[in-house]
Symmetry: C2
Subunit: 350 residues, 2 copies
């Protein structure tokens, strides 16, 4: 039938109109690069460590090897770091200030306190070393840092979820241009993740199988596959709500990234770099957001499956999306995959 | 306790961090006005009617009165219009192309066809006559046109919901700068509205009262009230997800705007103009989206209560919001209300 398609997300009750009648080629989205509003002094660059709070975790240059300092001496701000996690100066969530506070997060069914953690993960001493261009060994350190921070934060008694995400480009909400991610630990499980947990548990109870394992099996054989290797599959999800959206799913079932093996972490870094590079080359280095979806609660380990969702910021969610929850996407996921696949093939792996 | 607040929406399972620790004054959001990318020729201006499909509804200048043409002669494109509704050239939803198609909207639980309607409502012959500056008689025509289109579209057998919304400014997704709204009729009830319907029905079953009537009664007495008159209340909602967000609720219970009285429609136009004018004056004419929330199904008439939500576009939803569904708002609704109240008081009603 000659209509736009309505598609529902694999798990969420989230519908999108795949607007093929107003469809656009991915390259239509390429925009001239705006000159970034470079602040005179970057607080995340080497030499400016005094501008940020002392790190809570440091990867330091040693004698030819990387030294991890998980509990740096209070107040010290060494300059020989490779990756560092620092508290956000303006935290959305902050740690308990006195014993017992963490018991009182929810005061009613509509009011509570934002107790948790909010960190900035500085990904490199090099201002512009974003994942699409980073040297692989450096990006592997970033992935390791994600794992380290997740282990550390998810062990805290007041933490029920850890959101690891990245904003790239001013239009995607990055207020600093230095390569960095953010990590927010929350005292409740966020609504989007809870809806995924519920739906994947339902699927598991019905089919004795992880729904994401099922999705990977199907998507690697279909038109939405962008790239795969032994450990990961990259594809445009069936009900993408953004033009050129893609997800990275591990082939080995795991509910979070706490226990990735060293080769898996390296493979993830490579997969992340290759796919972000494909996006960058295809549409002139666009802004994007990415976020890990994962579960840290023990009972979800069989039915939930961690993954990374990458949302290029190429369109604007406007009045319709904001008042209905229905999205309109003018690039079909199949076209997105085909273009990103071609772009990725031109990239030579190191 | 010295923490940011976590607040839940009145109805939706949607939480926001009211980030007072990183709080900003509303006037911090005032930005120099970007020069709008004016297209050489505006397809919505008088004289360019040939650039758009013929109108499906016209309000025409008559002999000192407005003549409504609900079914204009096919192919005619008169120029003496005051308000006109035209089919969107690139519709997200489109009408059934043959009998029976509308029976087949949903093909499975994750796939369907976007059968419906998608119209552009041109609000004035004057390119820049947006609600904050419009003459009240003209804005009353716009409100009447919303009512007329809702009556017309909601009577179609394949329509389950009608979304009436407005995008103002490029950053809020308006691709044309001529004063206009959009109307999308959908073949299913959108997720956000369904969640509100379910929650308000629950409240009604429990308390034999409309939850929105309850909200109005409370908010008009509290610190989040911005403005009220005999027919409407304007307030910053308790769990605002946007800086300077405000809602307009009618005091008389009604589930939609099909049966507003003439004085109510005039009062709504006045209320809309005054509150958008207050926003414009406060932060230098910012971009915004607004959307009506309403119910057209008979059974919801007792428990659902129509309203308008106005979302100024002053911040960016980034990786955290997009991957968790938790929002961060750096202006407290109480501050927003106080500033908008002051700004509104400076405005002289006609």
């Amino acid at each position: 039938m000659p209509y736009n398609e309505l598609r529902k997300d694999y798990l969420l009750n989230r519908w999108v109109v795949i607007a093929t009648e107003r469809s656009r080629r991915p390259t239509d989205f390429a925009k001239p690069k705006a000159e970034g509003a470079k602040s005179a002094v970057c607080p995340l660059c080497v030499g400016n460590e005094h501008m940020t709070p002392p790190a809570v975790m440091l990867y330091l240059k040693g004698n030819g090897e990387v030294r991890v300092s998980k509990d740096p001496p209070a107040g010290e701000r060494p300059r020989n770091w490779l990756v560092r996690a620092i508290p956000n100066l303006y935290p959305a969530f902050s740690p308990p200030k006195q014993a017992g506070d963490e018991q009182q997060v929810l005061q009613s069914d509509c009011f509570g306190y934002a107790i948790g953690e909010h960190e900035v993960l500085v990904e490199s001493p090099n201002h512009d070393e974003n994942p699409a261009d980073a040297a692989l060994p450096q990006l592997e350190l970033v992935v390791n840092a994600y794992m380290d921070r997740l282990r550390e934060l998810s062990a805290k008694p007041y933490v029920k979820y850890v959101s690891i995400f990245r904003n790239y480009g001013q239009e995607a909400g990055a207020s600093l241009s230095h390569a960095h991610s953010q990590i927010i630990a929350t005292p409740t499980i966020p609504a989007t993740i809870q809806e995924e947990l519920d739906a994947s548990k339902n699927f598991y109870d019905k089919h004795q199988k992880c729904v994401f394992c099922d999705i990977v099996e199907k998507e690697v054989q279909g038109p939405r596959l962008i790239y795969e290797n032994a450990d990961f599959a990259v594809f445009a999800p069936y009900a993408s709500i953004n033009p050129l959206e893609f997800w990275i799913l591990p082939k080995r079932h795991a509910s979070n990234i706490r226990s990735l093996t060293k080769p898996e972490a390296a493979a993830f870094a490579k997969t992340l770099k290759a796919s972000l590079r494909a996006l960058k080359d295809l549409v002139n280095d666009p802004p994007y957001n990415y976020g890990f979806h994962l579960a840290i609660n023990q009972e979800a380990q069989d039915y939930y499956h961690w993954h990374l969702e990458v949302y290029p910021k190429l369109s604007i969610w406007a009045g319709f999306e904001k008042s209905t929850g229905i999205y309109i996407n003018t690039v079909t996921p199949e076209t997105a995959a085909s273009e990103l696949r071609k772009s990725l093939k031109l990239y030579t792996f190191e």
